[in-house]
Structure formats: C-alpha cells, structure tokens
C-alpha cells in the first residue's frame, strides 16, 4: 500500500485529467469528468494508514484541467457512506456551487458550468463540518488555462496538506506534498533539467494550521497569485499561503546538483514536507 501511496504522489505531480472532449453545436469545447467519492484507506507516511475520504480513491483527487471558456461537465457519484458534494472555486450558478445540493450516498449529481476565470483553482467537498470533509481528503486541483497558453515549461502540481492521523485533536501528525510524507525527498527526488523553465502549481489544502509555505533552495521564483494573471507580482524564494490559497511559481536552476525544497515552517518540514530537485546538466 505504501507503494500505491508513493506512486499516487508522484503521478499527481505530472498527471492531468483533461476530460473527455467533444464539441458543442456552437463550437465550444465540452469536457466531461467522472468523479466518485469513496471511503479509502490510504497510507500517508511509511507504515501509517489513514481512513481517508477520497475523490477517485486517493488524496489529493485528480487534477482536472481545462481552458477558460470550456463547457465543463463533472459527473459526480457518491459511493461513500455519508452525504458529500463537490464545490468548485470559480464563477458559476448558485445551484452548481455544491453547497445546498448535498449528494446522499448512492446518488449522483452533474456539475455543469463554463470554466472561468483562468487560474489555479481547487475543488473540495462542502458538506458540514467542512473542516472534517477536507481534512479527511476530499479535495483536488482545478486548473483553468488561459486561452493563450502560458509559455512552454516543465509543469508540476504540488498540493500541500496535513493529516491528523489520530483523528482526535485537530493537530496534524504529518505534512505532505501530494499525500505521502517525504516522497520527493526519499523516494523520488524530482529530476530537473538545468536551465529549463519549471512551473509549479502550488496549492495549500492544509487543515488545522493557518498557513503552509514553500521555500526553494538556491533559486528564486516568479509568483502568479491564484494564477489569474500572466505577469508575476513577486520574485522570491519563499511563499506563504493560507488555507485554500494557491499560486503558480516559475523558476529555473542555474547550477546542477541536489537542491532542497520544503515548508519554511520547519516543523512541517520535519514531519514530512520535504523534497529535493535533482538538477542535471
């Protein structure tokens, strides 16, 4: 199972679900996605199991990707043991907001909306108590590309989160990127080409801690807050995000070698939020 958790974390880094694409009569693109809510036991650190609630069987759920203006249809089925929902960050109608239309176990719901604005967004369950439904793992990335694509780059999705494994004190035992402690430090140092443009879609889905952060060693990155602009607002090596906040980071490595990246709340780094880039010429 540890293997499955590791593979999921690594896959989440670079795997995008662009949906089943068809053309509407008016010529617009229609993208359809299929999401199930499940009760899944996952592993969050070597040997540590967690009774998670998941979208499609793992934490975080799949990264749903589309382009601004696409017609988006998400077929949601609740195969878990209690009511759940999908609440997308974006601009859409009230009845597509996933708050008042709870989906009981065994039922389905179709979320239909036009993807806007472009940017780096999220989706998560919005059933009360929301903190528990998010802490248990019901969230994922919803990425809306601008109509004019961003410059070509090597792209990575990093979802920062925490796990309160003993479920009793709203205090996270472990912190991870993409769901498994230290996976990009011990199991899979991320291979990077020297000088190549790197783009990190950084999302903070941590519960019970107000903030999470990322610091890159020996390089600086441009920050596009929420990914809603194409001009950066900051040039730094440390970014702090509140709960549900996200940003796109762009950077290059000038020198080959191994470079750490981690939460600059070092207590999080010591509990699993630690990784390294392996830069090769």
């Amino acid at each position: 199972m540890a293997d499955a958790a590791r593979k999921h974390a690594i896959r989440t880094l670079t795997e995008f679900d662009t949906g089943k694409v068809t053309r509407l009569k008016d010529g617009r693109v229609l993208r359809e996605y299929w999401i199930d809510a499940l009760n899944t036991e996952i592993e969050v650190a070597p040997g540590v199991r967690y009774a998670a609630w998941t979208f499609n069987g793992a934490v975080p759920g799949p990264t749903l990707r589309c382009t601004e203006g696409d017609s988006t249809l998400v077929h949601f089925t609740n195969k878990a043991a209690m009511p759940h929902s999908m609440h997308f960050h974006g601009i859409h109608a009230a009845n597509m907001d996933g708050v008042f239309e709870q989906v009981p176990p065994g039922s389905s719901f179709d979320y239909a909306f036009t993807a806007k604005p472009f940017g780096l967004h999220i989706y998560h369950c919005h059933t009360m108590p929301v903190k528990m439904h998010i802490a248990r793992g019901l969230y994922g990335v919803f990425l809306v590309d601008p109509k004019t694509p961003r410059p070509k780059a090597r792209e990575m999705v990093m979802v920062m989160n925490g796990f309160d494994t003993d479920l009793n004190d709203e205090d996270n035992e472990f912190y991870t990127v993409n769901g498994f402690a230290n996976v990009f430090f011990r199991d899979y140092p991320i291979p990077v080409k020297q000088g190549e443009l790197q783009r990190v879609y950084l999302v903070n889905m941590t519960e019970f801690d107000l903030l999470n952060s990322m610091h890159t060693h020996a390089t600086f990155f441009h920050v596009y807050p929420t990914g809603t602009t194409t001009t950066p607002t900051n040039y730094t090596d440390t970014i702090t995000l509140g709960q549900g906040e996200r940003a796109i980071l762009e950077f290059r490595y000038d020198y080959p070698g191994r470079f750490l990246f981690h939460a600059h709340q070092n207590e999080f780094a010591e509990l699993g939020w630690l990784g390294q880039f392996e830069v090769k010429p």
Partner: protein
C-alpha cells in the same frame, strides 16, 4: 457374626461411596469444570468469536515504558498493551520524524515488547518528547523533563547510588537514634506523648507511601492493574507482620510484643525500613527517569526528614535497657533498605514491581501503627479511646506536623 460371603456387599459399597467417595471420583469432580471451561474456550475461539466480532478494529495502545539515554543514542522500551496486534510505523523526537531501528520487529503481538533505538545527538539537561505512531495513525507519547545519561551498572555508579542511600536513609535514622538519652531525661509521664508522636510520624509516612504509589500507578499499563498490585503488597505485609507479632507474643508468654520495648522497636524499624525501600526506589528511579536533578538541597532535605524516623524507632525503648549493638541493628533495619532501593531504582527500575514494594511499605507501617496503639491502650479501652486523650492528640499532631515541615525541604 456374619458368615463370610454373606451380607450385602452392594449396599455396603453404596454406603461407602456416600460417606467417602473414591479417589477417581474426587479427581473427576475436580477436573470436570476445568474440562468444560476448556471446551467452551475452544469452541469460542473456533466458532463463537465470529458471532461477536462487531464494530471497528480496537484502538491501538502502546506504552513507552522506559527511555534510556546513552551517548548519541536514545532507546525506547515499548510494549503493546492494546487488545490486538499493532505495527510501529514512525517515531518522532521533539515533533520531528526520525530514523530508528526496532528489535525484534515492527509487528507487536498483544503484550509484546520491543526496543526502539534512535541515533540522536541529545543534550544533557534538555527536555524530550517522544511520539511513537502506530499503523492506524495513533500517537503514543512519553515526555522526559530532563535528559540524563542512564547509569549503567559499574562500581562507580554502584558507589554513588549506595552513598546516596546512606545519606538519605541510613545516616538520618542513626542520627535520630542519638536522641535516646534526651528522651530518657524527660519525665516518665511523657511516655504516651512520645508514642503518639511516633504514631503521627508513621501515619504521615503511610499516607506518603500510598501517595507515591498513586503517582507510579499512572505510569503502569492498565492491564497490570496497579491499584491491585499496591493492595497485594499492603495486605500481604499487614498480614505477614501480624503473624510475626503473634509468634513473638506466644514466645513472650501472655505479654503482647508491643509491651516489650525491643520487640516493638524492631517492628517499627521493619515498617520504616520497608517504607525506605520504596523511598530509595523512588529516588533512584526519579533520577534515572530525568524527573529530578539530585541537588545537594534535595539530599539534605531527605536527611532532615528521615532523622525523625530514628525518633520513631526509639519511643518504645525509653524505659528499657538497650545495648549499643541493638541500637545499631535497629538503625540498619530501618535505614539499610534505602540503599537496596536506590540501587534497584537506578539500575533495574520497574514500575509494577515498585508498586508492590510501595504497597508493602504502606501496609507494614499501618500494621505497626495498629500494634503501637493497641499496646498503649489500657484494658477495655478501644484504640480510638486510647488516642483521644489530650496528650496523645498533641503527640499525634506534633509528629505529623514535624514530618510535614521537614517534608517541605524535599519538595522540588
């Protein structure tokens, strides 16, 4: 006379069986319930258990029983005290994931123990938090307030902890014994006062012993039932000393042992000695567990506090002729066990065992109190009536307050 071969053998046999059953029947009737219980257990484990297996898996429980600090290494002795097997998954030191090795392995059956070795550059005097996280994500915690190198058995360590026992237990008791001439110079009518003062001292010690045991109880795994270990020690000691008292009384004719000074003094010394064994255990263990830094002040506090114990041993001897040899023996019985306690506590400390010892110490003192009170009671007087005389009440209170005030020196 009945001729041979006549009579009614069948009837005779029946009568026999009714009055004196055969050996086979005795054995069978003894074994039958055991066999039936065995059958029931067998059936339950094979089939019955499936009917009652309800609900989620049981909550994992792991005790970190002991923390051992060696240069560059910390060792945790852990035990699975939950209802089912568990897996040791991760170890956090001061809230940081840390590499560790575990023998015999990560999988622990019920009640199985293991040794977790953590390479760690720890610092003398710092506090440390240990979290062991088991397979289902449950966190098991142990805090050490002050890290100190765990002493290993060496002649030097034996010497240091032996000396500690001498300082804390033996010397004070002997110093207290030196009050004998003073007590003798007081009027004879003060006898009751000295005895009741002793009862006050002992009452304090008994309560203090049980208080100490409550503290240790919190660290003992639930399944070991710490309270019952204390009760076992206390009741056992009380009954054993009562038996010894009875034997001494029969040897001494009709006079109760309490009336003879030396016998009573010895009983008090034994009670105090058992208490001091527990005290030594606590001191040695507290030092090892990093709960106290044994400063000079603390040691002096114990010395003053325990000097009153010598006084308690003396009170029955005020009107007796007593040899120096006997006094020495009494001091040794009362104070000597402290050394055994500090050694045991420092090197092979075990919480459950010290609970038994604390119980023994408490029970022994309570028994000595009962002997003292009965010995002073005049014929036809109850123990309470004997104590309720103004001079006795004063003695009781003075003894208790004396212990309390000298005890303040040990606080910290």
């Amino acid at each position: 006379m009945t001729p041979p071969g006549e009579g009614r053998p069948a009837d005779a046999g029946q009568a026999n069986a009714a009055t004196r059953p055969s050996a086979l029947r005795v054995v069978l009737s003894g074994i039958a319930p055991l066999v039936l219980v065995g059958l029931m257990v067998w059936w339950f484990l094979l089939f019955g258990v499936n009917y009652v297996r309800l609900g989620p898996p049981p909550v994992e429980k792991l005790a970190i029983e002991r923390v051992i600090f060696k240069p560059q290494e910390i060792t945790l002795l852990v035990r699975n005290e939950g209802p089912g097997p568990l897996t040791v998954a991760q170890v956090l030191v001061n809230q940081a994931m840390w590499d560790f090795s575990i023998t015999p392995g990560r999988e622990l059956a019920r009640l199985q123990s293991a040794r977790i070795s953590i390479p760690f550059d720890w610092i003398e005097g710092d506090p440390y938090n240990f979290d062991v996280i088991t397979g289902t994500g449950v966190r098991h915690v142990r805090t050490v307030q002050v890290a100190t190198a765990t002493p290993s058995v060496s002649s030097r360590a034996l010497g240091i902890f032996g000396l500690l026992g001498v300082y804390v237990g033996v010397i004070p008791v002997f110093l207290g014994l030196l009050w004998l001439p003073f007590l003798r110079s007081m009027p004879r009518s003060w006898m009751d006062f000295w005895i009741s003062l002793t009862v006050g001292l002992l009452a304090f010690l008994a309560i203090d012993t049980f208080r100490e045991s409550f503290e240790v109880m919190g660290r003992v795994p639930e399944f070991l039932n710490g309270l019952m270990l204390v009760a076992l020690g206390a009741i056992g000691a009380f009954l054993a000393l009562t038996g010894i008292d009875g034997i001494m009384r029969r040897r001494g004719g009709s006079r109760p042992a309490g009336a003879r000074g030396m016998g009573l003094a010895l009983m008090i010394a034994i009670g105090i000695g058992l208490h001091n064994l527990g005290e030594g255990l606590a001191i040695g263990a507290a030092y090892t567990l990093g709960e106290v830094a044994l400063g000079s002040f603390l040691i002096l506090g114990f010395t003053l506090h325990n000097t009153t114990e010598g006084l308690a041993i003396l009170s029955p001897l005020v009107q007796e002729k007593v040899s120096w040899r006997d006094l020495f023996l009494l001091g040794l019985v009362g104070g000597g066990p402290t050394i055994v306690g500090t050694w045991t506590g420092a090197f092979t400390y075990s919480d459950p065992l010290s609970l038994v010892f604390l119980g023994i110490g408490g029970g022994a003192i309570v028994q000595v109190i009962s002997v003292l009170v009965r010995a002073r009671a005049e014929s036809g007087e109850s123990a309470i009536e004997a104590l309720a005389k103004p001079r006795n009440i004063a003695g009781l209170l003075v003894g208790f307050i004396l212990m309390y005030l000298t005890g303040l020196l040990v606080a910290g």
